[in-house]
């Protein structure tokens, strides 16, 4: 399974990628929404099953990325998890209304991240046991 980690912080991309790789994922990374769209275009039919999406990023923010993804039929199968410091109720509602499936507020523990993957049905069976 492939996952796309989108965050302008290399540190956060590294943290999330490390956890995903430990769960058996192959990871791709992008530093903003625009870069992520380009990565997905290059992926062609091999669409990642998951994207973790930061909200505040330069060039293209995470909310815009989610909105763009939802306009593309070929990317409909991908689960979108916001991973962000934006913790206000209104922001969460906006992201979910735009098409995000899950919402994880930074800071988070590895267990909280795994819980969100499980809710999405994307926690590998061996890790869920």
């Amino acid at each position: 399974m492939r996952a796309l980690v989108i965050d302008d912080s290399r540190t956060m991309r590294s943290l999330l990628s490390r956890q995903l790789v430990a769960l058996g994922y192959e990871t791709l990374q992008a530093g903003n929404g625009q870069e992520a769209l380009e990565v997905m275009d290059q992926a062609g039919a091999d669409v990642p099953v998951l994207a973790t999406v930061d909200w505040n990023m330069p060039v293209m923010d995470g909310l815009t990325f989610v909105q763009r993804v939802r306009t593309r039929q070929e990317w409909r199968s991908m689960s979108l998890m916001m991973v962000t410091t934006e913790a206000e109720y209104d922001q969460i509602v906006r992201a979910l209304a735009a098409g995000a499936h899950e919402y994880l507020i930074k800071p988070f523990t590895p267990e909280a991240f795994s819980d969100k993957l499980q809710l999405l049905g994307l926690l590998p069976e061996r890790a869920a046991q």
Partner: protein, 154 residues
Amino acid sequence: MTTTLDLQLEDIRVVTDDVWTSFLATYGPLEWSPVTLEEASPTDELVQASVAIHGDWTGTVTLEMAPATAETAARTMLHLDAVEEVDVTDALGELVNMIGGNIKSLLPSGSTLGLPIVIRAPLCTAGASTIEHYRVELTWAGTPIRIRVWSTAR
């Protein structure tokens, strides 16, 4: 309209502690420091990470520590034995982003968070257009860390 900032020092400490517990617990917990960063720091240069909050209340949250402490934080977050300056800058930026974002969530809704800025600077004092509202002096791994919340004069 300008909103008055209504935080408790404990709010800021709890927010910071959540960040540290999630990503930096290896070196032990954050604790209140009985001394200021200036008194405890062996260097006159600091790494200062800041993030702006815009809205009814406009201001900045800063995170300050000695370069060696910042390097330890970056190594811990990245699980690396050695880091470069770019790693330290990125890690400190993400730390202040999380602290600032969670402080923003304690303010009236509708505020926006800027992108973090990280610099090396002499021990910092307030600029002419800023007012320091809150200061939390902490220790981690035996070294001082300071969080400050500043408002921008209008």
